[in-house]
Assembly symmetry: C2
Homo-oligomer: 482 residues x 2
């Protein structure tokens, strides 16, 4: 057993004063932003570069000290928070935030893990390129976190999730060795695709320290439309039609329930419905292209005009300006905030095959009514990816605590329907600690067994993000927390 | 030790007469089509379905019998051939060739591993969809092989390689358990991305038995152009210009040297240069779109017209008919056959960052001249992906055997330049047995160590494709070959 002051002294020697946060300074790193988890840590270590981080990890490996990497701490499943036991060191990547290279000819961007997604987008834009990843938390979320959780977002339909944007990685392994896989190659068939193993591993296999991201040419034309549709089946038909016309331009296809939009209109100042009549279901879609004179507006008007003639769309509003576009998108983006103001809510992040969404919405809706007709379902999300955030809002004027006490019951209802339709219990938020308990039920058998084998092979002492993904036995830590 | 007749009896009991090939019937499965490797096998097992294959693998695991999976046996690196020792069972997937499902709304195709890529393309086309994977050997190559080797091909530039098309997999693991990961989801963040680990693993981690592939809407318009360019730097500039105009439509951008095209014109009956004057460098590019009335022709004429004004393109021929398109493509596709007829050749499959291709071609060209000015370099390939097949043809009228005796020397020259430019020694053909010896040099250290850990975790007895990817110690096999 090594006393903690010896550990802290050693860490201080490796990263200096600036690289170490203790006591009150460390506290903000021990809670997730939704305040679902409250942990403790002997210290927050903030290495300045990969070599420092590697030496910290070597020290932790030698002393059997568990660590949890943290980026912008914007996760929704508790994967970046140290455990309650207080034995886990937080390794913050926030000082490692440099742009290492950008190449508009190769369409590649090399960045360190601690850079925010927004700053990475800006670096791409400065080179007249697009980093096609966008999530609500992009101002705080870091590339390391975005990759470790394989973030999705609003453009997955067109460009794929974070996984699809990665050409190369640099990773500090559990023993403190550095794997430099920062390759800028489109093709490289030389053994196992390690980068795709670290992407989405939620920090349990290694610490991502830098990445080569694949860029796209900058967007030169875009069109957005906010549509009222009679039902989810019509939303699906609209998706089919828009995709048929120009699949390469369809960038976002978002669904919102009337309940959810009404909550935004009620709780968010300045929010305004761009249509004269409210509806039970809405779609927000966006076309973008890097092609000049693409005529997206005409294209969109044509497909929406026909859809209205056929009753697939009830009414539609197209954005004429950037401000109008932002206003349309705020109806979608403000869902989380509006739901928060409406009281307690239970969040679900499920996916099903796209064609199954109407069935999914109908079945879950009926099951929730059976549970309690006063619960307000406000499903919304990435319809075009088969990803629905089936959020449930507490009964109007009801008791929030009592509602939250039934959270598991509600999640079970939602998950059961997703499962019956060959879906998943986590589409884009990941597993973290919040959903680790579901892994056995959903992925148990050969799949979870294979994952455990990989975990044990790459992190035999279980030092990386213990408690995330699996309920791993806690390692014997050589640290007394004082 | 279990005598082989007992093993064969047991296998016969599992797969029946039809599922077992012995003696002369097994021989064709023991050689690759380039005749680089000649192995022996106690039997070729051809299971009829996943359950049969699983029971065969259980038997092999129990008796410590190594296996090598084989699809269309079109690989270029010896990864599908049993070892010379004769202890390795060949498991042919060819009877498992069903289309399980196709869904044009979800844009998914579920097929068994033994279906040919061509048959899978046809199944997609029958549902008015596109499976965007195309390689020369698609009439024989199977989906299982294509995925296990992460095949690339002519449309990688637009759609990514095989890895990018996979939503789900079914895999028989080393112990004979079946992992059913045939999910049809665009988003599913529930633990490690196992499918991307099995894709490209060349059969060393499990046997892929079925896959869910992501489809695209069918192509409705395409244009091809064959261009003479003054030098590789101009080819790069042409790529930049075409990509700038409409990146979503650019599907192929292939480079050919004048030497290579001349060989095709000389050795392939009916081959004809579509331009009045020969050149030292050519580009074949293709635009495709699912958008109606896209005006690709006008777009292409505009960009090529300006490129000719600026001296970036010397001359260009556009295909007016499907027959003309095929004729242009045959100049590219017949490179392999023409080179074969021109005598002995040494094939290289390297990749570099796209912007480094001109430098790569210049440096390798100079190095080969220094080695022997009579050697004929005929580089060609997927310029837009940074992937060049730097093939070297024996001196005209020279001794083929003597030339081949220097193959390693030539490959070393090519690889050294690729390495200096942050490239890879295998872009799309994989490692197999041919290049396993290069893994230590190129991927040694933490990367290869991590791969070995994964291999040992998932196939502790080393029964799956021994000798491929790593020089693994051969397992103690419980089998006497008679």
């Amino acid at each position: 057993m090594m006393p903690s002051d010896s550990l802290l002294d050693a860490l201080h020697g490796l990263v200096g004063q600036r690289g170490l946060l203790l006591g009150d300074d460390a506290r903000p790193y021990c809670t997730d932003w939704r305040s679902l988890y409250h942990g403790h840590t002997p210290a927050v270590v903030r290495p300045g570069d990969t070599a420092e981080l590697a030496s910290v990890m070597q020290l932790c490996a030698a002393r059997n000290v568990p660590v949890v990497p943290q980026g912008g701490n914007t996760g929704l499943v508790g994967g970046a928070v140290p455990s309650e036991a207080g034995d886990t060191l937080v390794i913050s990547l926030q000082r490692m935030n440099r742009v290492r290279a950008v190449d508009p000819l190769d369409l590649t961007l090399t960045v360190e893990a601690g850079i925010t997604l927004k700053a990475a987008q800006d670096a791409a834009a400065a080179a007249d390129c697009l980093l096609p990843l966008s999530i609500s938390s992009e101002g705080s979320a870091t590339i390391g976190g975005v990759l470790s959780t394989n973030a999705g977002g609003n453009t997955t339909l067109r460009h794929g999730n974070a996984r699809s944007q990665v050409l190369g990685l640099e990773v500090v392994l559990a023993d403190g060795q550095v794997w430099n896989g920062l390759r800028r190659l489109r093709k490289d068939n030389t053994g196992y695709c390690l980068r795709q193993l670290f992407v989405g591993a939620e920090g349990t296999l290694g610490l991502i320290t830098a990445a080569v991201l694949q860029l796209q040419p900058a967007i030169v034309e875009s069109e957005s439309a906010f549509c009222a549709v009679p039902d989810p089946a019509s939303a699906l038909e609209l998706l089919r039609r828009v995709r048929r016309q120009d699949p390469a331009a369809l960038t976002a296809f978002e669904y919102m329930s009337g309940v959810g939009v009404d909550l935004v209109l009620r709780h968010i100042q300045g929010a305004r419905l761009p249509l004269p009549v409210r509806a039970a279901h809405y779609v927000l879609l966006e076309l973008t292209t890097s092609r000049h004179k693409a005529g997206l507006r005409e294209q969109l008007e044509t497909v929406l005009g026909r859809a209205m003639e056929d009753g697939v769309v009830l009414d539609a509003a197209l954005a004429d300006t950037g401000a109008q576009r932002d206003a349309l998108w705020s109806l979608r983006e403000e869902h989380a905030e509006a739901q928060k103001r409406a009281g307690a809510s239970v969040k679900n992040d499920i996916s099903v095959p796209i064609s199954a969404i109407p069935d999914f919405l109908a079945r879950v809706g009926a099951a929730i009514v059976a549970l309690d007709p006063a619960i307000r379902p406000a499903p919304f999300g990435h319809f075009g990816d088969g990803n629905i955030h089936y959020n449930l809002i507490q009964p109007e004027g009801g008791d929030g605590e009592a509602f939250l006490a039934r959270a598991d019951e509600m999640a079970t209802v939602v998950n059961a329907v997703a499962r019956a339709l060959d879906g998943s219990f986590s589409a884009e938020h990941g597993v973290g600690r919040l959903k680790a308990g579901l892994m056995t039920q959903w992925r148990g058998g050969p799949e979870l067994d294979t994952m455990r084998r990989i975990k044990e092979a790459l992190d035999p002492a279980g030092l990386l993000s213990p408690g995330t993904l699996f309920h791993v036995p806690m390692p014997q830590v050589g640290l007394t927390v004082t």
